[in-house]
Amino acid sequence: MTAGRIVAIVPAYNEAGAIGGVVDAIRAANALFDVVVVDDGSYDETGVIARSRGAAVVTLPYNIGIGGTVQTGFKYALERGYETAVRLDGDGQHDPGELQKLLGPIERGEADIVTGSRFVEGSGDYRPPLARRIGIIWFARIVSLLTRQRVTDTTSGFQALNRKGIALFAGDYPSDYPEVEATVLVFKHRLRLVEVPVTMRERETGQSSITFVRSIYYVAKVTLALFMAMLRKYAIPQEEAAGS
């Protein structure tokens, strides 16, 4: 039933102003996309609007945060038998027109997970505010060091995944700033991660879930989590372990 189809996972929290356009744009970008909006306990019309535009909507009973919300989408993809998934934010900052670029390495079998990066050569001239830029560089450095692979954008939520990537994240996905830690998870599980350049738009409506005061806490927490993740042993799939 889902053969050849691709699920587009869209986490959304109070994005009534943007979600309709996002769902329309995804469906317009590729007829193979089935859109699932994971509504993280919004108190606006996010879920109603998404459903009216033809998306499947999974509504969480209360706000569980970005990590749990995105993981709900991966579980949905896994249970419905999708071979390929893309993930983009519900606020309109990711252009569905660029999804085909993300899917390229998956379709060619070159990667298990593809991330749209704002900072790799060839991406748009995205200039985040200073505090945010410091955080982004800090995590890019640490993750690159830990994984011994050059990773430029560790906080990007613009991704494409094959079945292996979906299964990994459905089973194990971090909570706050999940993409940073998830990159280390990908490395520890010996999945292949590739970055492709993308341009991200300014947020259309809504408010970033990260405020400045909390960012200090998040940086400390995620940094701790990164090192702890490196110290853990993770199960490597049998055929992978035998081959390496």
Binding site: P61, S175, K221, L224, A225, M228, R232
Partner: protein, 142 residues
């Protein structure tokens, strides 16, 4: 001045706390979110045990210059209160969320039963109510 033995014992205890917390995180028995406060507690206590002049100075400010280790107790107590208060807020939040899940589950079950009933009338499964907690209506108010 703080007796050296007090400083050494306090430093070892703080270090142990830090190591145990780290090992609990690594073993996935403690989430980073709930571990940070413990780590800060351990680090502050470790600094205060190792930095003996600092402890004496702070003790002077607070009028316990005769016995600086009292500051170690005070700081440890303060942090324990903060951690407990934090846990109380977390517990309250979990309480609310638990109620929401129970309500959502009950409504879903009613909906599933209704759809079943429409097809082949009658209850599908007779389920024992799981009263691991005594219903509040039965327990007298304290």
């Amino acid at each position: 001045m703080t007796p050296v033995r007090v400083s050494v014992a306090a430093a070892i205890a703080s270090l142990l706390l830090i190591l145990i917390v780290l090992e609990l995180i690594r073993g996935r028995r403690l989430k980073e979110r709930y571990a940070l406060l413990w780590l800060v507690t351990g680090i502050v206590l470790l600094v205060l045990s190792a930095w003996r002049e600092g402890l004496t100075t702070i003790a002077g400010w607070l009028g316990v210059a005769t016995y600086p280790p009292a500051i170690l107790f005070a700081v440890a107590t303060l942090f324990i209160i903060i951690v407990l208060l934090h846990y109380s807020t977390v517990l309250s939040q979990l309480d609310d969320q638990n109620t929401l899940i129970a309500q959502r589950l009950a409504l879903l079950e009613a909906e599933v039963a209704r759809q079943h009933g429409e097809r082949d009338a009658g209850p599908t499964v007779a389920r024992e109510p799981e009263h691991s907690v005594r219903p509040e209506s039965l327990s007298p108010e304290p």
